[in-house]
Symmetry: C2
Subunit: 241 residues, 2 copies
Amino acid sequence: MAGDKMSTYAPHMAKNLSMETMDVSSAKWITLKKIQYLDPQGKQRVWESAERQTRPANSETDAVGVVAVLRDPSPTGKGTETSNSGPRLLLQKQFRPALGKVTIESPSGLVDEGETPAEAAIRELREETGYVGTIPDDATAAAEGFVMWNDPGFCNTNTKMIFVDVDLSDPRNRDPKPELEEGEFIESFTLPLDRLWQELNRLDGEGYAIDARVGGLAQGMEMARQWRDALGKEGDGSKRG
Amino acid sequence: MAGDKMSTYAPHMAKNLSMETMDVSSAKWITLKKIQYLDPQGKQRVWESAERQTRPANSETDAVGVVAVLRDPSPTGKGTETSNSGPRLLLQKQFRPALGKVTIESPSGLVDEGETPAEAAIRELREETGYVGTIPDDATAAAEGFVMWNDPGFCNTNTKMIFVDVDLSDPRNRDPKPELEEGEFIESFTLPLDRLWQELNRLDGEGYAIDARVGGLAQGMEMARQWRDALGKEGDGSKRG
């Protein structure tokens, strides 16, 4: 199906060869921390934590994820005709040595020094997929959202998930060409928004590892569907208030 | 407001005292791995990864998160009258040394040996909040979903986010009493489903650290609202198919 698969860098061809415990002094990207803390009753306790070594100075954000929705609003576009050609979420397959699996993730990347999260999202989207995206005008505050902490009991890494609109009627988005870095092998593809949860379940069953940020989006959309009546009331409440 | 805050264990009273780099040989809970792998073009490369040391043998799942929705379906309940008394998501505040902050998370816990993820979710919910929950009958497959990987570029930790229904008209849920372990200080509270994204933005602004699994749910619900027309079509499509 057109749009399903926009670039092939054969992530399934990769595989792990060996894994060994590594001393912290020889690690370049990550480190381990021993933290002494006072619990709420004033008792001193110890916690162990993993950290990235790459967070930019003066930044609270490690990375951005790009929640990119592809749509075609043009009269000739198929964006509103059938379920199959409705809005689609842009996703990526890549081999991740930490899991030894091919993952399903959003486009993402580390925030460069001096760059805002929104700028990083637009740049990473273009580099990794070739698409030119924009931050939705009507949702600037909602687009940027807040920093999300990936696993607070285990590590201090975090991500800002940025909403980005990709207008397929824009001529620049007709034949997108990613510009991957040396050593990056990413296959981009899309899933229909209206079947995201079911499709991710299917991909999980096929052996892909679903990133929690992507899985959370799908689960939230499923909750919105289940609690549609309750959520529908919000609009009425706003008008009354 | 009743139900907003069900137990107070003063997570804000905790604080970090010191943080030092820790050698991998003295870490009990986490470790670092150096992975040799072949990229898709057959070139040998190295990746660094952090891991938990606690995943049960024969399990692919580290932990469960509990997506618990509190609702009162009884005739005397307020569950369907106004937006303020509609379904609410059960959340927790706790101090996390890895971040040096109080987080907003779902109830969660490690899966015990021999326990299914659904059993772990019901057990953790009861232990951490006192609530008796059930896996929704009409959504058993959807309830359990799939394993979500928290940060595949950095570590191999994962979580299964389980939907759990908490019926407030059940007499056992009238006065829930958590049974926290020694050293656990968790304050449970709820947020209305229909304002989850806005409320998490507010809490982020107040200095809380939002867990990515919770943030993802809220962002997905916000997407469902934005793309309501497109998502509404799914039902029609199913009937046609």
